[in-house]
Amino acid sequence: MNAKTIKYYLPPILAAALLVHSCRLDNYDAPDASLSGSIIDAETGELLQSDVINGTTIKIIEHGYDPVAPQYLRVKNDGTYANTMLFANVYTVQPDLRNFQEIDKQDIAIGKNTRLDFRVTPYIRVKDVQIVNDGSQIVATFRLQPTTSDVVDKIGLYAHSEPGVGHPIHQVAAEDTLNRQVAEQDTFSLVIDAAKHTALLKAGRAYYFRVGVLSGFPGAKPNYAPAQQISIAP
């Protein structure tokens, strides 16, 4: 392109740029509302552990639109959640995918820093968890407290280098399919032998270990105890 053609094309391009630069993106205010809170075990008052992937989601439906696509908020591993980019409005809110018993939907006016905690009953509580390092073996013992009459589908001990460890994210897992009712006094034990996974669990390094349990309730997501960091024996 020589100087002459540039001279020829430049004015219309500049004019176009000036003229086009008049429009606004849309007529809405920026999303300045937020909804955050926790999923709390109503009985123990503790945060309810979950998964980021394939874990608890909260479905929110904005009022005033039809049809309207629901939005889904993901709950973090520790049981807290937050969406800081919502439009202020009334929403119908209800946890969707869950590892706790269903709770009713509620209509909430969401504005700046709206907080909403859910007090729930987990399908299964994981109690008295002890994870110890016995030589190369990481041994988890625990008890289970189901809150429904469903069978316990399976239990698992999961290991990963990141704290987000669980059934969806693990490097090594020791799982046991129970598919039966359990009693509160039953003690369960799961073992990961690091010596059999030297490529994935490197000696001398620390990994997160977490006990999980899946209820047989259709569509249930796993319940967990908090993750613990443990170093593999060198």
Binding site: T57, D96, L97, P168, I169, A173, K196, T198, A199, G219
Partner: protein, 636 residues
């Protein structure tokens, strides 16, 4: 005077230009042909049908994660089977969404099919028989199209009529039917097709659907629907689409669909038109050669190849299987060979002739432990072998016909896939930087040769063209160099979209899953299961169990783009791919012994990323719900 001329010229211009017609909006476009011209004779319909076949979503050589007809796109050589465990790509680890969207092209094709179906009765030049036959062909294509939609989206909008354009957009919108209604539509379209399609085609029409093709489609689709009904609860979904039945099928209907599969398959098995190609080989070696020939050119086996997709025009409408999939040593000028690395996971599944009826994992150590993937261990006692392929002795002929094993000959070259050596002092050099060592006056190289052009595996300096599993790809590949292979799309081997072996295995699966026993089905299903095994050189029959059928299906149909859908329909994808790391078999030369011998290390592939299949992906997202108003699938 000058001014007068000037003025009159100016006045004349509007007069002259005022030539436009007031029917300008009714003019026929010059780049389209009216149906009154093309759809008036059998030849015209034939031309129209050729275009419909082209649009039909056959999952052939040109099908991959970038779309249909993707042979000329750079898809990194990621075969469909490399996204579901049968192979890994030499470079990429990701589990792609796999099947591309088939929504808009699906409804575009459906519109064209509906136009044909609407027009056929009005074509005076056609006899009634011919009209029925051509309509049958359209029904086959519509069945195939709706099968492609149903297996991706579940229940979809069923549009049976050609919709005329109207500004009243709302009147054109068709809501989703349930998944059950959609599968039932596929079933009835297959029946409509089978009713009038001819049992055989000759001459230039051999690539067109027959009655048996329609039955084979019904067999495949019914098995899919039955599996979703039976196993859907393994991956439960929730939400509006589930509540309305738009995805998911009542488990009580599983046997209904299994029986539809049994009936459609039995019709082919009893029809006599199709059978297995060379069903009784004398030796395993002969079996391997037969199978290689079948896939290199399906035209040798019209009895088995029920429906083929052809690629007549290299560089334009060819495909690229040879371009991506050859080992590096036999790239024949292709710039990006070596992309398809069959996994140890697949190789393990092939039976041994010595232990029929079970997978035969490759045993590498004296203690027989096949579950240790941690890499070389000095304290372990490894078995020694004279060649890099002795360890596969007695494995199924189909392994040899599907996969290039280390040290075997392909296109005249010994394909070297060696991961390293153990130095005489016991130091392991495995999957490491290229090195050499001289022992007793002989030079040894980590990867089996000095120059990287002379080997095909494990060298991470040329990682893109090197196998990282210890295996290379063989099935379908041309045994002779493909002309002009430095470019994509030069291969022209035909693709078998339907072949008789699949029908046998559909039948066996439907019978064992449903427990169906009428018409001596249990015996026939056991025979069907063993027929493909006998063709592969097995001499001992195995019982009809679901494990045996699934193993047989995986090895017989490997790389035929079936495994992805098998994992989907049986809801096994999230179980198989749950933080799954795929496996390699590393051949290593042990220089501690004289003469040096080979040992093998079972291990995780190098540069591995654990792969997880999220359960919501059992269904695809429906595009454009903002405008088409349809109910979205769960979790999108």
């Amino acid at each position: 005077m000058k001014r007068i001329i000037f003025l009159s010229t100016i006045l004349l211009i509007p007069a002259l230009l005022n030539s436009c017609r007031d029917d300008v909006l009714d003019l026929s476009p010059l780049d389209k042909v009216d149906r009154g011209i093309i759809l008036t004779s059998e030849e015209g319909v034939r031309i129209f049908l050729a275009n419909l076949y082209y649009q039909t979503p056959f999952e052939d050589f040109a099908y991959n994660h970038t779309g249909f007809h993707g042979a000329l796109t750079n898809n990194m050589g990621i075969l469909h089977d490399a996204q579901c465990g049968n192979a890994v790509n030499s470079e990429a680890n990701f589990l792609d969404p796999g099947a591309p969207s088939w929504w808009e092209p699906g409804y575009a094709l459906n519109r064209d099919i509906n136009l044909l179906l609407e027009t056929i009765p009005t074509i005076e030049a056609l006899s009634n028989d011919k009209k029925n036959e051509l309509a049958g062909e359209a029904h086959f294509l519509r069945a195939f199209n709706y099968f492609a939609l149903a297996k991706r989206y579940g229940g979809v909008a069923i549009i049976r009529e050609y919709q005329p354009y109207t500004p009243a957009i709302e009147s054109l919108k068709v809501p989703r039917s349930t998944e059950k209604e959609t599968w039932d539509f596929v079933m009835s379209e297959c029946d409509e097709a089978a009713k009038y399609l001819p049992p055989a085609r000759t001459g230039n029409d051999t690539r067109r659907a027959t009655k048996w093709t329609a039955c084979a489609l019904k067999s495949r689709a019914a098995l899919h629907a039955a599996s979703v009904a039976k196993y859907g609860s393994k991956a439960p979904l929730s939400g509006e689409a589930v509540a309305l039945g738009l995805v998911g099928i009542d488990a009580a209907l599983a046997n209904h669909y299994y029986e539809l599969c049994i009936d459609a398959s039995a019709a082919i098995m009893e029809g006599g038109a199709h059978r297995l190609y060379k069903p009784n080989p004398a030796t395993a070696e002969e079996a391997a050669n037969n199978l290689l020939a079948l896939f290199q050119d399906p035209n040798v086996a019209p009895e088995e190849a029920m429906f083929c997709v052809g690629y007549g025009d290299p560089g334009v409408a060819g495909h690229s299987i040879d371009f991506w999939s050859n080992p590096s040593q036999t790239s024949d000028g292709a710039h990006h060979p070596g992309r398809v690395n069959p996994t140890l996971d697949l190789v393990d599944v092939y039976e041994s002739y010595v232990t029929p009826g079970q997978s035969a994992p490759v045993v590498t150590t004296a203690d027989g432990n096949v579950n240790d993937y941690n890499g070389y261990n000095r304290s372990q006692t490894y078995l020694h072998f004279d060649t890099p392929y002795d360890i596969f002795k007695n494995k199924d002929a189909r392994l040899w016909a599907t996969v290039i094993l280390p040290g075997t000959v392909w296109k005249g070259a010994t394909i070297r896939m060696q991961a390293g050596y153990i130095e005489p002092d016991g130091t392991p050099v495995i999957e490491a930087v290229k090195a050499s060592i001289t022992v007793n006056g002989v030079a040894y190289h980590t990867f089996g040769a000095d120059a990287w052009q002379d080997y095909s595996g494990f060298d991470q300096q040329h990682a893109d063209v090197m196998t990282r599993t210890g295996f290379s790809f063989k099935k379908f590949l041309s045994p002779v160099p493909v002309e002009g292979q430095s470019a994509l799309g030069r291969s022209t081997q035909d693709w078998m979209e339907f072949r008789y072996a699949e029908v046998l295995l559909n039948y066996a699966e439907a019978v064992v899953e449903s427990g169906y026993s009428a018409n001596d089905a249990q015996t026939k299903a056991k025979d069907a299961l063993n027929a493909t095994r006998q063709r592969a050189g097995h001499t001992t029959d195995i019982p009809l169990t679901i494990d045996n059928v699934q193993r047989e299906r995986r090895v017989e149909l490997a790389f035929e783009n079936k495994r992805w859908w098998d994992l989907i329909r049986r809801r096994e994808f999230h179980e198989v791919f749950n933080n799954n790391i795929q496996k390699a078999l590393c051949p290593v030369l042990d220089l501690r012994v004289a003469p040096p011998k080979y040992i093998f290390i079972r291990k995780h592939i190098i540069r591995a990323v654990p792969i997880t299949f999220p359960e919501y992906r059992y269904y695809h997202a429906i595009p454009g719900i903002g405008s088409n108003g349809l109910i979205q699938n769960p979790n999108y």
